[in-house]
Symmetry: D2
Subunit: 350 residues, 4 copies
Amino acid sequence: MFFGSDNTSGVHPEVMQALVKANDGFAPSYGSDPIMDEVRARVRDIFEAPDAAVFLVSTGSTANVLSLATFCAPWQKIYCHPLAHISTDECGAPEFHTGGAKLALVDGADGKISPDALRATIGATAQGDVHAVQRGPLSITNVTELGAVYSPAEVAKLCAIAKEWDLPCHLDGARFANALVASGATPAEMTWKAGIDVLSLGGTKNGLMGVEAVVIFDPEKAWEFELRRKRGGHLFSKHRFLSAQFLAYLTDDLWLTMARHANAMGGRLAQGIVGLPGGALLHPADANMVFAALARAAHMAARSAGAVYYPWPRDWPANGPKDEPLTARLVCSWSTTGEDIDRLLQAARG
Amino acid sequence: MFFGSDNTSGVHPEVMQALVKANDGFAPSYGSDPIMDEVRARVRDIFEAPDAAVFLVSTGSTANVLSLATFCAPWQKIYCHPLAHISTDECGAPEFHTGGAKLALVDGADGKISPDALRATIGATAQGDVHAVQRGPLSITNVTELGAVYSPAEVAKLCAIAKEWDLPCHLDGARFANALVASGATPAEMTWKAGIDVLSLGGTKNGLMGVEAVVIFDPEKAWEFELRRKRGGHLFSKHRFLSAQFLAYLTDDLWLTMARHANAMGGRLAQGIVGLPGGALLHPADANMVFAALARAAHMAARSAGAVYYPWPRDWPANGPKDEPLTARLVCSWSTTGEDIDRLLQAARG
Amino acid sequence: MFFGSDNTSGVHPEVMQALVKANDGFAPSYGSDPIMDEVRARVRDIFEAPDAAVFLVSTGSTANVLSLATFCAPWQKIYCHPLAHISTDECGAPEFHTGGAKLALVDGADGKISPDALRATIGATAQGDVHAVQRGPLSITNVTELGAVYSPAEVAKLCAIAKEWDLPCHLDGARFANALVASGATPAEMTWKAGIDVLSLGGTKNGLMGVEAVVIFDPEKAWEFELRRKRGGHLFSKHRFLSAQFLAYLTDDLWLTMARHANAMGGRLAQGIVGLPGGALLHPADANMVFAALARAAHMAARSAGAVYYPWPRDWPANGPKDEPLTARLVCSWSTTGEDIDRLLQAARG
Amino acid sequence: MFFGSDNTSGVHPEVMQALVKANDGFAPSYGSDPIMDEVRARVRDIFEAPDAAVFLVSTGSTANVLSLATFCAPWQKIYCHPLAHISTDECGAPEFHTGGAKLALVDGADGKISPDALRATIGATAQGDVHAVQRGPLSITNVTELGAVYSPAEVAKLCAIAKEWDLPCHLDGARFANALVASGATPAEMTWKAGIDVLSLGGTKNGLMGVEAVVIFDPEKAWEFELRRKRGGHLFSKHRFLSAQFLAYLTDDLWLTMARHANAMGGRLAQGIVGLPGGALLHPADANMVFAALARAAHMAARSAGAVYYPWPRDWPANGPKDEPLTARLVCSWSTTGEDIDRLLQAARG
């Protein structure tokens, strides 16, 4: 009963099989492997973006920070939500890779950036003021860090505001597949058609071993990205093993199938939780993450039964409120089973 | 007949098996997996270094530059050979990760740093001169980039010179296993007993998919290293898959067995080449790399038969000398077969 | 009638005289000038800090960011007020010089950091969490950016909180002399006795041409600071001209005399403003800066009469509220005269 | 008898007078002072470059590194002479301000870069090789660090080579005035007509207190430079005092008059030295610097008489050869007198 994070799950068997298959014989290194050609073609096809540049890296932080560094000067601000992964979970990697850029936090409900707040924050920087950190890229996270999903229209609205100042737009899609199947939109609608210039296309949290793609819709930035990847230490010599994972991911809609399953599990969990003692959802459980309140006793019972998940947003029982209910984050993945969920619910029910 | 690099080889079957095995169920992420505990214990045991800090990363450049950044202030110099990987093949990753340190190149035969040149170069920086980039770590590469192997005594001699100025010593051991079996020394003799403070312990070039260990003999630096790894984007969420590879690597001496095989193939290739038309070795083929001259016709015949390897140090036929012989680098790995070598030699023989 | 900033004032005649005197003949460069020895001795004496390291630089931003970089690792946070100069007016210089550190903004009235908010903010970073930007120095500004003055007890309270986590404490004293004479405290009480580890000791805003001292109470950090100063491009070759200014500054209490005058002018201005139509103070005018509301008509009349000062916090008339009163910042300096103030008040009175 | 460096001289009286004059009353800060408008116009006129961007900073290192950072990506190389100030005397400031670029050293006689070596070095970087630090700007120093002066034709030849690869060209003109009067060329011929894109136009070594101009012939880079200057901590608040110095410098050819005098003194010194015991010139004394050999006894006699100058290239007597002659660097400035030189020569003659 592991609901701590989707990255505690393993690798989908078809992906593992692809690794075994890719291991046959010798192959050119550093991204010149023929499997990468297939990956590139597949991504361009899926995103209806025949000129897009496509690169693979091994962690989500890397996908984010190399993307942002390519689109953000050292003296610029990155507009993002206070809970964005780049703000809270990357130990300053964006600041490091950009050469000292700044995050400008723009709040909003359910992890979504408020359009009004975004316009106000961007507007607050005086044009041509050399004393101020300058305006830079917008970075949106979809699925948000609170489990909600932006619709293409919501993404488009934020990007349109950024574009009023000609600012580039980045999408942290560590859970892009989950957002996609939740919204019913196409990959193009969710990205470049809505104004996104560069996408971190997650794989690791959704059944891969450690691969994320970066999709740059403006290919002029491709060479700079390649240099930044190499210089960051992020260019794999035995690159075929990244390619093989990602090709399997995109074959026969495996990525969507896994995301659909994870989301279904998330829905089932959310539904169950509201029926529990003290049960309530803190945010819309649009995809595979559930933020919920639960009676203290229910938590304790679930934990005793072996359920693993994290208090949220504050730690408890140590620092939590003495009065119930206590709040927590529970995450489902491609490998979460209905049985896992039922056992959790049953345990919590007491 | 792939002799382009040891990183064009695949993954040893036992390593692949370990990955499959590690894929069972859920596991804690970001290095908290129990397999990592075994890796740590194993490395400490093998290196007779019970306090050493042990970390895994996915590329050799990363192992090098995070190690160096941890031991080098931004205003210091790193002393290394002009052909060191950090100097020629990492696109300035050391400069980036250290925050702008400088490489001071110290030449010497066969890719080895000359002790006299090292002492002269370190000594040339005036003590306490605020205008000068300051003295910093020594970085040695073993196996060298020209295929030679430093003995423990040779490593110790260089480290002793660095220690005259209290400078830390780094070993780029992308091919450490090959150096070890070639020298007959123990891991401890090749590292901390000779004065090495931090080791990039290669795995990728020797049968892994993409894992290198960093071994820091002074554990006080461990936390800074962890922060730099995270901040660089190099902390894997599904870390168990790095751990599993490295545990397999160190189990039943697999790492040494693979290196011994690669070295044996290197020796067989070197021996064969000197018997070919125009055949001669440019550097001692102490391990798995052979730098050799060969008649132009012999090269062409080998290439026609499908042999893949790189001209060295200059490109040919385009830019090479018109007069024979032409020089090249050929690399063997754990998966190179005697038959591969025989076919190459036979083809070259014409 | 210039009230735009204290840096629109010129240089005190005695300082200019000192420059002329220092220009006699040749002198050793890069800080080895004998005048610097006098400066160092004088600063140590005034601060009752016989071991303090003392350096001169030419801008306030430089004093701040070199100080902070010396006490802050790239992966740490600097705790400061949202209106701190390092946050709003240095174009990301702290991020650049630290190698990508982050500012953590801690609000509070009148530009002062709230002790409770400081403790909560520092405490919110989980100990040993490699995913988070780590705790780093506290930076206090005295006089604050809103014209208030911290008492030694208030400084000590904030430093004590930082010290609970062993964090270093920096004081941005661009207007330190103004704070000092306003508080009646000694230099030692305002700094190291209250827990300050490093001080930006302003001169430029208080009658110098372009010199600030950095006083490091822990001399172990001195050499690193020197290297950062040089590497930043901030070591003057004809350093005697910095030394001469600062020596004149500290001679016969010139720095205090000028600050006392500026504060007196600030008080006179504040007193006058509250008697004007719509007149009110937004913050305590403890030193030489006055933040005030005034009827729109009064502003317009003052401007027509030639008074120069800036709308605050928002620009007007363009973006200001249509309804009066409008708010502004007015700054006095060593060269502001009582006559200037009387003319301003008279004009505004209509 | 100070021949240690031209920066041990003071400030020309007319410059000091200009400072006093500029000190009258209040003035807009941060470069908005009206004197700066005059400086800009004067520089554009002198350089026949009506669109050039002109900025003032306070140290030569700053002029160099901000210029280079504006024209060099972090993953590029700067081609310069091994003795270039940016390589030997700035404590890694170029590496810091560029975000980790690398210096590629290209040797040549008398401190001049050899054209053949330049072409070979640039050519040695393989096009499109992501593993290599990429090609970047050329940086030339005129007067060279060994006292020789490049002719416009020599500058043009080097720039033309760089332009074969579309690389930008920087001129470190810390002693630009000395080079100009020595060559008899116009400022335009020495810079943009020869292919220079950005110029560090020295003032400090030639009679100013601490001001250098940066002239960017392509104004598209101006805004980035401004941001880098601010972010580096190099934007002066009381900027009028930089402007005033530079305006005096360019008024009535003061800069050229001072440089002509310094060069004349250099010539007189060089001529005298070759007549001394063991006297010989190591490099052509084209401007105000003399590199000379002299009998040990002659050195000792000069020193005893109070002459100050530095051993070059190695320290002596401690580390110098026991056998004569010993070599040294002697620098003249605007304030060196013929009498100083005669006294030195007489003393050395014994």
